[in-house]
């Protein structure tokens, strides 16, 4: 493995890839600083720009955007009480309180150190776990893949925001949209209404650019609150004052360690990712703390733990994508689209068929963490200035990049109109309280599920028993049922306990 890592480092440390990693990390941090525009939207917008790059460079840049956004989101959470990212919402609680007490520099400093330690931990975990998992993935057939993807969708719905019924409904809608185009097995047209452009189905990048890019712009255009600029808390940008002192380190080192481990494990779970890991870490830190009453009043553990967790989760989320080819959140779905744009499907064979890509991407995360560490400490003051860019100037530029990006995928103006439809859908989803994440994963996994389910049924000559005879798929089915039925069991148990008490 050391040999493979060395090969990876020779790729990721090439001048070209360091530059792309730097661009990705900087863009991610800038985007993370801007409230509203998340990594999904940014990656969707920039996906088409990576067309001309080679696969490794483009994935390195996209991954840089993802973990850069986690760093950047913290800055506005601490200084403005506006989470730049959903995964830094929890940082607002104690980070902003620390800022009000004149400890903004310490909060930002510990989050940078915590993120660096957690990011490095996550990347080491990814390097160690990904190869054995891809060996295991070789034992997967269509039945195992079908049940695993079913479990993935169930977890996304269960762990996602909003009511599960709405999440399931919107997930099915995503699967329905995925059936547009040629049938994956027989190549017969479905729901194309004679349009040649729809034969290949709706393009993932066009859909995501619309749903997240244009959808976000429409939402921000509708919301007057986000259009203004808020007051920034004054703080010193001297490097010495950003560094946590010995007492801060003593208080934070264990939360950073726990957050790193928890974030990594949550990141691997489909539907997990930065948001869930940061909330889970905050809850855990509050529970294990000797002074839980200080949480919400500026406890440094409330910043160190969640910030470490959300960065570690980024590395964890790469494991199912690289070993099984299954995205666990919308950003990973975009990464998958990035791979597919270059004709490579991630999965168990990627290590053997594209070792340079696999190890190059993994080692680039080490490089990316160092870049972000160097970038974030001295440049926090500069990044804060980005918040002051008015929406009025930013939004037309984003719209222009989106329309050109959508057109350039197939050189077809119909894609611009399809993107607009998804943009309106994204806007309506947010307004009618539907989380777009299950839609995206339903869309991405829908095609895969249909193909796997039908292949499994064809192999078993139409017998659905094939899903229950394999031990691996049985494990996934039992876990899926457990996840689905757990709210009923919890409600029953609560009622039972209440009746016992009364």
């Amino acid at each position: 493995m050391i040999e493979s890592l060395l090969i990876g480092f020779t790729i990721s440390l090439s001048f070209q890839n360091i530059i792309y990693c730097f661009i990705g990390c900087s863009l991610g941090t800038i985007i993370g600083v801007l409230p509203g525009l998340g990594p999904s939207a940014t990656i969707a917008i920039l996906l088409t720009l990576t067309y001309k790059l080679d696969l490794t460079s483009s994935i390195i840049m996209l991954a840089g955007i993802y973990y850069g956004a986690q760093y950047g989101g913290t800055i506005t959470s601490v200084l403005l009480n506006i989470p730049g990212e959903a995964s830094t919402v929890v940082t607002c609680i104690d980070g902003y309180q620390m800022a009000l007490k004149g400890r903004a520099g310490k909060a930002l400093g510990i989050s940078v150190f915590g993120s660096f330690i957690a990011g490095t931990f996550g990347t080491i975990g990814l390097s160690l776990l990904a190869p054995p998992l891809s060996e295991l993935a070789l034992k997967f057939g269509p039945a195992e893949y079908s049940t695993l993807m079913l479990l993935g969708l169930t977890l996304v719905i269960y762990l996602g925001s909003g009511p599960p019924t709405k999440a399931i409904l919107i997930c099915f809608l995503g699967i329905a949209v995925a059936t547009i185009g040629m049938d994956p097995l027989t190549a017969i047209e479905r729901f194309t209404f004679g349009s040649q452009s729809l034969l290949e189905g709706v393009d993932v990048a066009v859909m995501i650019m619309g749903l997240f890019g244009i959808g976000e712009i429409l939402c921000m255009a509708a919301s007057r609150e986000l259009r203004g600029v808020r007051d920034v808390i004054k703080y010193s940008s001297k490097l010495r004052e950003l560094l946590p002192d010995l007492q801060d380190w003593k208080t934070s080192i264990m939360p950073i360690g726990r957050g790193s481990l928890l974030g990594f494990l949550v990141g691997i779970i489909p539907g997990g990712g930065g948001v869930l890991s940061s909330f889970a870490s905050y809850a855990m830190e509050k529970r294990v703390s000797k002074h839980p009453e200080q949480f919400g009043k500026g406890a440094i553990e409330g910043v160190a733990g969640p910030e470490s967790a959300n960065n570690s989760a980024v590395s964890g989320a790469f494991i199912p994508l690289l070993t099984l080819g299954i995205p666990t959140n919308p950003v990973m779905a975009l990464m998958l689209a990035g791979f597919m744009l270059h004709g490579v499907t991630p999965g168990p064979f990627i290590i053997k068929e594209h070792p340079g890509v696999f190890w190059g991407v993994i080692t680039s995360m080490y490089v990316g963490n160092v870049i972000l560490f160097i970038l974030n400490l001295p440049m926090i003051r500069f990044f804060v200035k980005i918040v002051e860019i008015p929406f009025a100037l930013l939004s037309p530029l984003i719209v222009l990049i989106c329309v050109i990006g959508a057109y350039s995928i197939n050189n077809n103006t119909l894609d611009i109109l399809i993107m607009l439809i998804f943009g309106v859908m994204g806007f309506l989803m947010r307004n009618f309280s539907y989380d777009p994440a299950p839609f995206v994963l339903g869309f991405i996994l829908g095609r895969m599920i249909e193909k796997s389910v039908r292949q499994a049924l064809i192999i078993s000559q139409g017998s659905p028993l094939c899903f229950f005879t394999s031990p691996i798929s049985m494990v996934f089915i039992v876990t899926t049922l457990f996840v689905l039925l757990s709210p009923i069991f919890t409600a029953f148990w609560k009622r039972h306990r209440l009746s016992m008490v009364s």
């Binding site: 409904l169 059936t179 017969i188 530029l397 329309v403 350039s408 943009g423 307004n431 049924l457 139409g462």
Partner: protein, 160 residues
């Protein structure tokens, strides 16, 4: 009183499911070798209808958010505000961009998109509009056409 947002969205998605069902049943469902191309979309469409009915049903039991409880006059005012918001202009201008790009070419269509957004939707001064408008169009031209080699349409005018 039903939660109007859930009711209307659930009902709309029920119709979408119904439409998908209608088009799914036109395809064969099962053959000797196993499931055919119509079965999976049909199952998905029926699931959409089922879950949308649950959302509609639940909307009668979920309380209407307080902020949404408004008089008919208030609702009418809200509709006018929504129509006045920049959303409609953004949608219309992107639609126009999609329809004109092939005929008018990249540069003219981009100007048609950027200048009205900056000047009339975002209410920027003429100076800022021209500066940001030209700046972003030229930058994106260099990035996409020169650097990335994207063949953007020249249109009937014959310029980019």
């Amino acid at each position: 009183m039903a939660n109007k947002k859930d009711f209307s969205s659930g009902f709309f998605l029920f119709l979408v499911g119904l439409l998908f069902t209608f088009f799914s049943i036109r395809h064969p469902m099962w053959s000797k070798s196993g499931p055919d191309e119509g079965l999976f979309p049909l199952v998905v469409a029926i699931s959409i209808m089922g879950f949308s009915l649950i959302v509609v049903g639940k909307s009668f039991f979920v309380a209407q958010p307080r902020e949404r409880e408004k008089t008919s006059e208030g609702q009418k005012r809200k509709i006018i505000i929504v129509l006045k918001t920049p959303i409609i202009y953004y949608i219309m201008l992107i639609l126009v961009y999609g329809l004109l790009l092939d005929k008018m070419g990249f540069l003219i269509t981009s100007a048609v998109l950027m200048f009205p957004i900056l000047r009339f939707v975002e209410k920027e001064s003429w100076k800022v509009t021209l500066l940001v408008g030209f700046g972003s169009i030229i930058t994106s031209y260099i990035l996409f056409v020169r650097f990335l080699g994207v063949p953007l349409p020249r249109g009937i005018v014959g310029i980019w």
